[in-house]
């Protein structure tokens, strides 16, 4: 990492903290995916990594390249906005699909449909 020698100290420490926070949140989300008992509990865990985790890694990347290149580097915002918009959509689609499948099988663990259709 020879290019990072020219980085000032405060920026290096801030980038390190943000990186460790983001990666730690991603890991906690993945462990939650592994440890929680059923699908409806598990669907909550990865959102920790996909929103806050990727957000802080994107902040670290933005700060790093902005300080290193001495000009504002903001294209990481694109991934951030995209992730924040798409994560709820995908997980809601997935949870609805899982609920539909469980109801089709007549599983006792999910509440029955009130409208009469799946």
């Amino acid at each position: 990492m020879t290019h990072a020698e020219s980085l000032p100290g405060w920026a290096a420490i801030l980038v390190s903290l943000l990186l460790l926070l983001g990666a730690g949140l991603g890991l906690v989300g993945a462990i939650g995916l592994l440890r929680l008992r059923n699908f409806y509990e598990r669907v909550h865990a990865p959102t920790l990594g996909t929103t806050l985790g990727i957000g802080s890694i994107l902040l670290a990347s933005m700060l790093f390249f902005t300080v290193l290149q001495a000009r504002p580097v903001l294209h990481e915002v694109l991934i951030g906005v995209f992730m924040v918009l798409t994560t709820p959509v995908t997980l809601m689609l997935l949870a609805r699909a899982a609920l539909y499948r469980d109801r089709r099988e007549g599983s006792a663990e999910v509440p029955r449909s009130t409208t009469g259709e799946g």
Binding site: M1, L19, G26, I57, T86, A97
Partner: protein, 93 residues
Amino acid sequence: MTAMILSWSVFLAQLMLALGMGCAIWRVARGPRAQDRVLALDTFYVLAAMLLLVFGIRTGSVVYFEAALVIALLGFVATAALSKFLMRGEVIE
């Protein structure tokens, strides 16, 4: 000194993300049902995008950002199509 702190935290972050990807792969392999596997794949691609961003910080090149963007875009489409498939049994009706 500060460069050493940065390189160690980059290494630790890569290690944690790789462990998280390992957890996600384990859930893909074990299931137990199709929706669990799709959820684990979703987690896996997000962690892969994060790992590519950390690689970008490590090497100081902006190229990795584009790879992360492509992964984020295609991963969303893949998860949406797979949950559509789980719901209806086909992707395009």
